[in-house]
């Protein structure tokens, strides 16, 4: 039965999920969309963020979102190191296409297996006051464990948008994504700007990781489920458009929730893949592309 | 008047909202030496990208030897006889100079038998005075030899029309003087040549006819001595 309640609940749940998807995808939109760095390891950095939130939550009882926020500078530094290595080994010599991709694949693999070795295959979860409760508006239930990540995700999107459009470094990043040659002629150092931008992109993974483990339990290989999603969102959102990322995240969230509601949850994963292929085949510039 | 080898009719190319080419038309005759000039960003490279097939123009028509090639992919245009060199040399870096020439000889040149590919490549290298560098990797070539390789590889496609995109940019005047006779010699063998060049001295000396692009439109066309006197051209280059 296609009841109205089910429909409304699916839409609301999809929108909540979509805000969270945007948070996970922002880093890809910056790295891939703006900097042209195909960081396929991004979802695994997100999972790493989840495990840090888990470790601090279970040992010290710290709130996962607070941990995520505290992790931002650490992840920024991690991003700086990764970019420096990537730049020196591949980008400088123009070998980023084959070896750079394999490099990120290797990173993805090492982090995932390392988490597996330390924490095992069991699902891990965090405890916080807002996990478990639900709001009810009429017949529509809103789980707080979905609402909080959605709001934080939207907040992150707005913050990143403001950073990129209003600050000096943000404008420099946008300029690099347009034409790094011209920037070099003006005396700015594109490598330095790209380092900061990539650090920023990894920094988003700390918070996104905290959101991931608030939404539900996490195991080491869960990042694989997000690879298709984040790239589908980045491409659909128009490669580097921050507002587009949020819009694409919401679309994917709603479509996935509908698929899960009406066809079964295991098919939801195929949705992002289908969207990705269709967008690439029909309109590679994305829905919100320039 | 000789028949047109290349006909460009009302070609328009947009990038997003920006019109890089706006209704450009050109006729290049069989055997001609044709110059294409214009200030930076005037659309010269976009135009030859559309002619060679690296880009597709949204509207307008491009015909070569009487057939419409507007929708053909680049490699088929090369097989029909349009070859180009790149402004920034794009050699096949893992192959030797000789092997670089074998690719177009094998894939584009119609009348070269497989057994003759290496001999033919050596013959082209000799003509370009590159024969003693045949077994080097392109990474070890000097700037001027890299330009020579770029032209040699285009020649190996056995073209009827050779488009030379700023083959002399960054070269000394002695080096320019060394390259020009090679292009003249190719033209005497019957190859039509379009030369895109910033070095006025070279393009004026070489071309029989010159077209001038500015902001995506053709503002003048004629023999070099007329182009030099043209007021619009002067304005485009020097500003108001």
């Amino acid at each position: 039965m296609l009841s109205l309640d089910l429909l409304l609940n699916a839409i609301v749940a999809g929108i909540l999920l979509g805000g969270f998807y945007a948070a996970v995808s922002l880093g890809i939109s910056v790295a891939f969309g703006l900097l042209d760095i195909v960081n396929i390891a991004h979802p695994v950095f997100v999972v790493l963020g989840s495990y840090i939130a888990y470790a601090l939550n279970s040992a010290l009882g710290l709130d996962p979102l607070l941990t995520g926020l505290l992790g931002v500078p650490v992840f920024f530094a991690l991003g700086v190191v990764v970019y420096r290595l990537y730049y020196a080994s591949f980008e400088k010599t123009g070998e980023e296409s084959l070896r750079g991709l394999v490099f990120f694949f290797g990173l993805l693999f090492i982090i995932e297996v390392a988490l597996l070795l330390v924490y095992g295959v069991d699902y891990r979860m965090v405890e916080a006051a807002y996990i478990g409760d639900s709001l009810h508006i009429g017949s529509v239930g809103i789980a707080l464990r979905l609402l909080v990540p959605c709001l934080v995700g939207i907040g992150m999107t707005v913050a990143l948008y403001l950073v990129l459009s209003r600050t000096f470094w943000g404008r420099a990043i946008m300029a690099v994504s347009q034409d790094s040659q011209a920037l070099r002629l003006m005396g700015a150092n594109p490598v330095r700007i790209k380092t900061i931008a990539f650090g920023l992109s990894i920094a988003t993974a700390s918070l996104a990781g905290a959101l991931l483990i608030v939404i539900g339990p996490v195991e080491p290989s869960i990042g694989r489920e997000y690879i298709g999603r984040v790239f589908a969102i980045a491409v659909l959102g128009g490669m580097g458009s921050i507002g587009g990322t949020l819009a694409a995240g919401l679309i994917l969230g709603v479509v996935e929730t509908f698929t899960a509601t009406y066809y079964g949850p295991s098919w939801a994963l195929a949705v992002s893949f289908g969207i990705l292929l269709v967008v690439l085949a029909v309109r590679p510039a994305g829905l919100f592309g320039r | 008047m000789a028949a047109s080898l290349l006909e460009v009719r009302d070609v328009t190319k947009r990038f997003g909202g920006f019109r890089a080419l706006n209704g450009v038309s050109l006729d290049v005759r069989e055997g001609e030496r044709f110059g294409l000039i214009g200030p930076n960003g005037s659309g010269k490279t976009t135009l030859i990208n559309c002619i060679s097939g690296a880009l597709r123009n949204e509207s307008g028509r491009i015909s070569f030897r009487g057939c419409d090639v507007t929708r053909l992919p680049a490699h088929q245009r090369t097989r029909l006889g349009i070859a180009r060199s790149f402004q920034i040399p794009k050699p096949f870096t893992s192959m030797t100079v000789l092997e670089n020439l074998c690719i177009p000889l094998e894939y584009a040149a119609r009348d070269v038998a497989r057994a003759d590919v290496v001999d033919e490549a050596m013959a082209i290298l000799r003509r370009m005075s590159l024969e003693d560098k045949a077994s080097l990797l392109p990474g070890r070539l000097t700037q001027v030899d890299m330009r020579r390789l770029e032209l040699a590889r285009a020649m190996a496609a056995k073209p009827r029309l050779l488009i030379s995109d700023e083959a002399m940019a960054g070269l000394s005047s002695a080096e320019v003087d060394a390259l020009l006779p090679i292009l003249f010699a190719l033209n005497e063998q019957g190859i039509t040549i379009i030369m895109i060049e910033h070095i006025m001295r070279a393009v004026m000396r070489f071309s029989e006819r010159i077209a001038v692009l500015d902001a995506g439109e053709k503002i003048a066309e004629g023999p070099p001595d007329e182009i030099v006197k043209n007021k619009d051209v002067e304005r485009a280059y020097l500003g108001e």
Partner: protein, 314 residues
């Protein structure tokens, strides 16, 4: 290299494999040998697209499992003989390569890679929901009886995989030394220049994807009879994706011998290591070695050897 030599090596390897089945009694060695030859096929297949053309395929597990499940369906439905399974597995995976390639290869190379990243997971989801092949629980396959001259069916499978390894290596050798391989190398070096020099880049890329996908499917087709319990988690194991890419990168990507060297070294090491260390630690080491090679020795072992040999000559 002389024309006859590869053929001679091929016949030699096959004879050696045949003789081995007469002399070696230890059953474990056949299982181990099968895995090593299987990785020779996978690494060679990956390299035809990845190494020669420069397009990275992360979805080896998907192509491999598609071959395995094609064979499973043929066994369940028709009790089809092994050669039919191998041909069918190869064909189905080739069609998958054609489809993915056609949708993504006209764009920049990274989009193809991204699509293949998501591919295995999606195929796995389909299989999990497909009751005919046992869904998530998997399905048991009964191995056929042994027939002469082989003492057991596993010995026969070992010999078949050795033959497939030889065939794939010869295919790679032929591609590398033909006009196709030179066109692919031009694409890898500079795709725009290749297209402008008359190389039909899209058609050659599709060809490489199809051949590469086909051999991955071929490698997966004997899988049901080898494991006798076909289930999604092991058929789609990440091991295949990682190893098929790590082996050529470690061995060297520009020649046919590189993936073979990498496959033999890495899979032998893994076969030995699984006895002593956990499989997770094993995979971690593969990952670290992969990253180390990509960063420090981009030409792989074959490249290192060539450089040493060149220095001695110079």
């Amino acid at each position: 290299m002389k024309k006859g030599l590869p053929l001679l090596i091929a016949v030699g390897v096959l004879l050696a494999a045949l003789v081995a089945t007469r002399l070696v009694g230890n059953r474990y060695l056949y299982f181990a040998g099968y895995v090593i030859f299987q990785y020779v096929v996978l690494a060679t297949a990956w390299n035809i697209l990845g190494g020669y053309t420069g397009y990275v395929n992360f979805g080896t597990a998907g192509f491999f499992a598609l071959g395995a499940y094609t064979a499973t369906v043929l066994i369940l439905a028709f009790k089809a003989p092994l050669p039919v399974q191998i041909v069918a597995g190869g064909l189905v995976s080739a069609v998958l390569g054609l489809g993915i390639g056609y949708l993504t290869l006209r764009l920049r190379g990274v989009f193809f890679s991204i699509a293949t990243l998501a591919l295995a997971l999606v195929l796995q989801t389909f299989v999990m929901n497909w009751e005919y092949v046992g869904g998530a629980k998997g399905v048991s396959i009964i191995r056929p009886a042994a027939f002469p001259p082989f003492a057991s069916y596993v010995e026969f499978l070992f010999f078949v995989m050795a033959a497939l390894a030889v065939v794939s290596a010869m295919a790679a050798w032929w591609i590398e030394n033909s006009w196709v391989g030179r066109g692919l190398a031009a694409i890898r070096d500079n795709e725009e220049a290749a297209e402008c020099m008359g190389v039909p880049t899209l058609r050659l890329k599709l060809l490489a994807t199809v051949v590469s996908g086909c051999f991955m499917g071929v490698a997966g087709a004997p899988f049901p009879y080898y494991v006798t319990l076909v289930e999604p988690v092991s058929a789609f194991s990440l091991d295949y994706a990682v190893n098929s890419l790590a082996m050529p990168m470690i061995g060297g990507t520009t020649t046919w011998i590189g993936p073979i060297v990498g496959a033999i070294l890495l899979s032998t090491a893994q076969q030995v290591a699984t006895v002593t260390i956990s499989s997770e630690l094993n995979l971690l080491i593969v990952g670290i070695v992969l990253v180390a090679f990509v960063l420090l020795a981009p030409q792989g072992i074959v490249g290192l050897v060539q450089r040493l040999a060149g220095r001695r000559r110079a």
